[in-house]
Amino acid sequence: MSPDEQIQEDNWVVLSATDGKKVLGHVSRNSSARIGKRKRKIGALLGARWGDLFAVRSGDRLEPVEEEQSFNVTAETEMGTERNNQYLEDTNENQKLEQSTILAMKEQGIEGEQLVRTVVENSLTFRGKTAFSQEKYIKRKRAKFDLKVRVLRPTALTLCETYFERSPEKTMHLRPDGLAILLGYAGVRSGCRALVYENCTGLVTAAVAERIDGVGKVINIFSGTTPPGTEVIRMLNLDSLHTKAIVHTPIELLGMVDVSQSEDNDPLRYVTVEDAITEKTGTKHVPSARRAEAIAMRAKRGDVKSWIRDGCDCLIVATRFDVVQVFDVLLKHLAPSGCFAAYCMHLQDAADLQYALQLSKMAMRVELLEVSLVNHQVLPGRSHPAMTDSATGGYIVSGVRIAMPSAMASSDNGEKSN
């Protein structure tokens, strides 16, 4: 991970806006990102520090904002809940200011909180609204006229949240709570050898790589010619040490772990997404020298085979395919006393896996759990769980691998202590 606290050219960033939304950005002098309803220039992020706050100013560009106390007249006093919407007509908004007037004010440099205040003062119905509605109204206006973004470091957490918000189908709807349990229950830690199979565009692989922090191995099993899950990994801004810990392993290799082969001294063979683009378009996207260097950096086939043969410390699975079949292939490569965790989107899959594992005698403490993160609004006089929330964090099947009882052991006693 970039040890530097300053944002550099070619860094990925997560921008968390005051309208409650998160977007990804790729920083260069002229790059832009869609913030609010429009594209905004994000070149101003270069050289800024992670966590800094920016405002969207005229010309659709970002400008750094001095951090201030979030001083808010109504926020910290108990809002009377007695006022109700009894005088409110069931019509749309009543605003004295014309759209053109607002535009003119913006041109005169009236922007940000000042503009919001003016708009609120000119609302005919604001005073008649309940405290709730007033707050919602101000929030809406602030998102429109005083949009701010905070620049966050792309981490497994922020990337998970951003993908879940913007394209959940790419990451199997994996939420931070599911990811947290997956990493925790599988026992991922620095120094461990993790066996991973995932269909989450690289999010799970990235999260494991982040947690082992360059020490240990992430054996990312993939099928086909190209490791599909590299999109999210790239966004972590990893250095070469951390990149090297990720070992993209073609599934075919699992069929040969016990067989010695002449090509065992070669690096792993696969085509990267960039290579594929190069081949397809004919344009040399990646210089061949850099490509050769990257391939030379890859782990040797023989080494990977011996790691798998020795057994891995953790097994993490997140698949939209047949999770039982995946475990049938992978569980035997987890060392005894190693922990596994699988993320499933559907209860039926998780239940099938749970039952198949219980019958397999290869696992103990098999547990099927559903995770559910609830967000809470905690504000004076207005505290409640989030009104609209995603309904589930999915299902996790976890457990501990055990060695098969030896043939001599009476298998009748097997049920007792499991």
């Binding site: 957490l157 990493l183 120094g191 475990f327 559910s372 004076p380 505290s383 098969m404």
Partner: protein, 392 residues
Amino acid sequence: MPLLQGRSSSPNACDGDLIIVQEKYNALTPVVLRAGSFLNNRYGRFAHDDVIGHPLGRRWEAKSHPGTGSGTQACAGFVHALKPTPELWSLAMFHRTQIVYPHDSAVITLFLDLRPGQVLIESGTGSGSASVAFARAVAPLGQVRSFEFHKPRADAAQKDFRALGLEHVVKVTGGVDVVKQGFLGVNDGEADAVFLDLPAPYLMGEEVARVLKPNGTVCTFSPCLEQVQKSAEMFRKGPFHSVRTVTAPVRTYETREQILGTPGFDELQESQKDVANPALNDESSRHRKRQRIELSGSTRRKLKTAGAERLEMADKNDGRHDGRVIRVAARLHSRPFSSMKGHTSYLTFARRKRGNVKASPNNGAGPKLLLGDAKSGADGSGISRRESCIIS
């Protein structure tokens, strides 16, 4: 077996290692291996020497059956010997206080953005279940600096951490009241993260601001919403951003096989076939019946359970299980266990703003949090600053 044993060391258990022994699903015990020693329980007498020098994650067979006193039927046999993990440890350890459950510590670990090499400040240590989970995340070079007011409890926790081989990662300071004395010995801006499991986390705002790095994250763990209301207000008024409160309840499911068929309905459907089609001869009726059964598929198979399938499969392999994970054709049924830990605590997270923050004017309601310059106020004792935190 140290909890965080790396790949480089031997995969075998050593004399002096702490292991977790599972007797039954809900009976886990920590055992420190000593050459020549024995473990005695209801399943028999187990020789430590049978485990020392061997890999874990397997059966541990009894040397002899338990004594036949008290008339209990000796169901001797084996237990399982496992490597310790924070999750197993939280089930095996002695609960000196309400513990932080593994699902909560997993979520806290991710939301605190913990990484190897980081420094986490924790108060209080309690039973140490969260400390162990955090230690795994920051090890091997990071630090968990844990404060516990109750001296005997701090000593007991430190002893556990030593047994788990975590003494290089977790340091417990006992007998300090952090609300009054602050995080004694922690320098300004030294912490990557702070975890507060205290009755009044909202009194700790200034001290947390002092020790946290810019963008460092703090988490408060509070069972009641009233504590959260005060903490959230303190964070909003202080030099913090990205304040959020979540709960992360989990529920566990049990899965069983179901045998289909409904008494009375089966017979009615059969008889209706005959009544509705009196003209059809037996042959045709039997044909229709077969069709219907085919249509509704193998889910209707009432006889072959998954256990039967499994046995059939074992038969083909000379009575041995063959190390496969196979989807069963039997119909399965799942439901959450009828009782669950519904609520543990609210988790409130906030991140330290960069730079110094001016004192917030008092709005006449709620806690008055007077924040000085977070950096300059450091004098090592933390006491004077504590006193400027006044709750009305």
